[in-house]
């Protein structure tokens, strides 16, 4: 028999979607029970367009190739004490944020995709989600392995899972992924695949990895770009799921629009940490947060939303606020961590004179007026041996859980806090923005349950009321992984390795 050539699309269909069948003996809804409660209408799973067509054999082959390269570099990095080649030990603090915040998020995402990949009624979507599930496991584990070497030489990495479940700023990331995972399967995938992966992930990974490259960190560059190669598949899934839902039924359009608005906002809020990392934590700087935002969101995201217009989807209204905030948030976020440096598992510091000038140049409309004076005042106190650590505990936003540091830039008042509030079942709830309030108001039944770290401390659920007890609960101690970089064990070791006094 002469074998005909089977094109990729047909072959892939036979190898995935054709595995499914119509149930005769059980109610299919018992096997796929979560498809309807969100109000999404799927009329025909056959209309699903497979966003990429990797079968398992090809998956194993290409992924093994990537892993082999990656671990060869890890081994070489460890054998050659690669950590000595980074630009400065301050840089390693960006990695601490990454491992403690991003890596557990990858595991959460791996789990979410396993759940979604079990529960979609359509085999094509299931397989795509399952592949992403195993990819996310990869990212989680390659990050743990990349950081493993740094953990041996720097403080702040060693208790990452414990901290992920407890520490105040970890709660921001954890609540994001808890929010995704506690949603239904369609909201989950819109949240992670579309809002996070497609629209925002470039802002997380690409600047991070370019930053690592600029700062001599080969291990991170390698895992980052290697992970990004999977990310391209994930972004494609994100776009496909959106188009599929929108094409299935017109009733899905307003639901999807709500989700896009909600999740872009929640994702954007988390990126405040990336903003601060780019502008403050990289000793060798390559691009400001503002520039990255313009390139990867305003430009690329703009093209995407233009493409989605034909389905009736529009760019969220809040993009104007984001535009106004881009001159401020990195400075404000750094100040949050600087002034709470006693309660963070990484070191903070005031920028050098050179770095201050770079910030002035990158943020000509805001830095000298609002932020430089504060940082200079802090440096003066430091010089007097009175390094500033703020007393007490901040107010948090009920939705994004970020300390309420966002200011009224929309009305040109960058030193006035934004206050938004709702009352539900006779209890008051506070928010950092219209969007966080809107998210709460849509589903107060869900958000009243948020585990807000500050309130938990005051309820006595974090080891006790005193700072020492809370630090013990966090396993953070005092003076090793936290406090200022200057005078830290990290700094002392670095100087010793580098032979400087």
């Amino acid at each position: 028999m002469q074998a005909k050539k089977l094109n990729v699309k047909d072959k892939y269909r036979l190898l995935t979607r054709d595995l499914d069948w119509e149930f005769s003996y059980e109610d299919r809804k018992e096997a796929f029970p979560y498809e309807e409660f969100e109000g999404i209408k799927i009329t025909d799973w056959d209309k699903w367009e497979d966003p990429f067509r990797l079968t398992m054999d090809a998956y194993w082959k290409y992924q093994a190739e990537k892993e082999k390269k990656l671990y060869a570099i890890y081994d070489a990095f460890a054998q050659n004490n690669g950590h000595l080649n980074v630009s400065d030990a301050r840089y390693v603090n960006a990695l601490k944020v990454f491992l403690t915040a991003v890596s557990p998020a990858e595991f959460a995402s791996s789990n979410g995709f396993a759940w979604a990949g079990r529960h979609y009624g359509g085999a094509g979507a299931r397989v795509a989600a399952q592949m992403q599930s195993i990819d996310e496991l990869r990212h989680y584990q390659t990050q743990i392995h990349a950081m493993s070497h740094y953990n041996k030489y720097f403080d702040g990495f060693e208790e990452f899972p414990h901290m992920h479940d407890r520490v105040w700023y970890m709660s921001v990331v954890k609540s994001f992924f808890d929010d995704c995972r506690s949603s239904g399967p369609f909201e989950y995938i819109v949240a992670v695949s579309f809002a996070f992966e497609y629209v925002l992930t470039n802002l997380l990974f690409v600047p991070f990895m370019s930053g690592a490259a600029y700062n001599g960190d080969m291990a991170t560059v390698t895992f980052g770009f290697s992970a990004q190669s999977d990310e391209a598949r994930h972004m494609t899934l994100g776009l496909e799921i959106i188009k599929f839902l929108l094409e299935q039924h017109e009733d899905n359009v307003p639901i999807v629009q709500e989700w896009i608005d909600k999740w872009l906002w929640r994702g954007y809020r988390i990126l405040a940490v990336v903003a601060m990392m780019m502008d403050y934590m990289l000793p060798q700087k390559f691009m400001s947060w503002k520039e990255a935002w313009e390139l990867y969101f305003e430009d690329a995201g703009g093209a995407l939303f233009k493409d989605l217009e034909r389905y009736g989807i529009k760019m969220p209204d809040f993009t104007e606020t984001i535009k106004n905030e881009k001159d401020h948030i990195s400075h404000q976020a750094w100040w949050v961590f600087y002034s709470h440096g006693h309660a963070a598992a990484f070191h903070t510091w005031t920028p050098t004179a050179e770095e201050l000038d770079w910030l002035s140049e990158k943020y000509p409309d805001t830095f000298d007026q609002y932020y430089r004076p504060r940082l200079e005042a802090a440096a003066e106190l430091e010089a007097k041996g009175e390094r500033f650590y703020t007393a007490g505990l901040p107010q948090l936003c009920q939705t994004c859980q970020i300390p309420m540091f966002f200011t009224n830039v929309d009305e040109g008042k960058p030193t006035e806090i934004v206050y938004r509030e709702s009352t539900y079942n006779d209890e008051r709830f506070h928010f950092c923005s219209n969007e966080c309030k809107h998210i709460f108001d849509r589903e107060p039944e869900k958000y009243v349950h948020a585990w807000l770290p500050v309130h938990q401390i005051f309820q006595g659920n974090c080891g006790g009321g005193g700072l020492d007890e809370v630090m013990e609960y966090y396993r953070m101690g005092l003076g090793e992984m936290n406090l200022d970089y200057k005078g830290s064990p990290d700094e002392k070791r670095w100087k010793k390795w580098k032979g400087v006094a």
């Binding site: 050539k5 054709d18 595995l19 005769s24 018992e30 093994a64 079990r118 609540s175 506690s182």
Partner: protein, 329 residues
């Protein structure tokens, strides 16, 4: 600044992460250990799942089984992502060689009608069984999010089974000249042939089980043991003596994968049952119940495919396996 670095200056300040050191001591840890142990979220979840308000997001109470330490159920293969994909990549490379050898030499043309029809009716519908195993293991993976050791191993099993389903599909394509006709025929058997209906009903039933550990036992121990004996021992033997040896090389991936997968399943079940009488009773009662379902489901298939004795033989293989893991009698 090019000062010489004295290696004595750069001794590590710790050997591994705190949670790994607390478990194994502060010494250099394996990549499996760092990738696996005590790193899943356990407390302080923010929201109740909209789809399951009675449980936390990561919640060991999604099964009736209790374990003092869920990480006791480690993977004897010590697969984390990197070792898993590299292992399977080697296996797929061999499989790829087998398929191209088969296709290049047109070995399909040498198969008798008898072998061919047996293959289409009995072998190819397994792709649907494998897809069920994929979903069942993904259910386990999603439900064991509180313990990476289980979440990853069940995920790897799920992806393996998708791989199996795809390899079975490729067997069909290798036989029908890429037309997909054998796959259509096989699906027709799956949907309507009386020999298959018990199995199909059983597959559909396993997909409705909520307790993930019950799913795990029903799929990976009871059902798989019986099918593995029927296919990778008995059917294998039948093909060998009926001129179907060439076909066997296409099944090589599936049968060689079994060895490591079974070792893992056995180890998990053995340790669970050994943990407490309560666990043991629960495991045994689930096994008994699923044996009865499997008996009824598989009888028509086994008889039609291999004869009257076939299923009894498969059950004695299951007995032997249960005996080895301390659940015999």
């Amino acid at each position: 600044m090019t000062l010489e670095i004295k290696t004595s200056n750069i001794k590590p300040i710790r050997n591994t992460y705190g949670h790994i050191a607390r478990r194994f001591g502060d010494k250099p840890a394996s990549r499996y250990q760092e990738a696996t142990y005590d790193n899943a979220a356990l407390v302080n979840f923010h929201y109740k799942p909209l789809w399951d308000p009675d449980h936390d997001l990561n919640d060991p109470r999604r099964t009736a089984i209790h374990m003092e330490d869920w990480y006791a159920l480690k993977d004897p293969r010590q697969f984390y992502y990197g070792t898993y994909v590299q292992n399977r990549a080697q296996m797929q490379e061999k499989a790829e060689g087998n398929f191209s050898f088969f296709e290049k030499r047109d070995l399909g043309a040498r198969l008798s009608e008898d072998v061919l029809s047996k293959c289409v009716r009995f072998l190819l519908p397994l792709r649907h069984v494998e897809q069920t195993a994929n979903l069942n293991n993904m259910h386990c993976s999603a439900s064991t999010n509180y313990c990476t050791a289980l979440a990853q191993a069940t995920k790897f099993e799920a992806m393996d089974r998708l791989g199996n389903a795809q390899y079975f599909s490729r067997v069909g394509l290798a036989l029908d000249g890429n037309s997909g006709s054998t796959l259509n025929e096989a699906k027709e058997f799956w949907m309507t042939d009386s020999a298959w209906q018990g199995v199909r009903a059983l597959c559909e039933k396993t997909l409705t089980v909520k307790d993930w550990y019950e799913t795990f036992l029903a799929q990976n121990l009871v059902f798989d043991s019986l099918l593995n004996d029927l296919y990778y021992r008995q059917m294998d033997a039948w093909l060998s003596v009926n001129g179907g040896q060439d076909l066997l090389i296409l099944l090589d991936f599936m049968s060689s994968r079994l060895t490591d997968s079974q070792r893992w399943v056995d180890s998990v079940v053995k340790l669970t049952a050994a943990e407490s009488d309560g666990n043991k009773e629960l495991v045994q009662s689930w096994i008994s119940a699923w044996r009865i379902s499997a008996q009824q489901a598989l009888e028509p298939l086994a008889s039609a495919m291999l004869g009257e004795e076939a299923l009894a033989d498969a059950f004695s293989a299951l007995e032997t396996r249960l005996g080895k893991i301390g659940l015999g009698g």
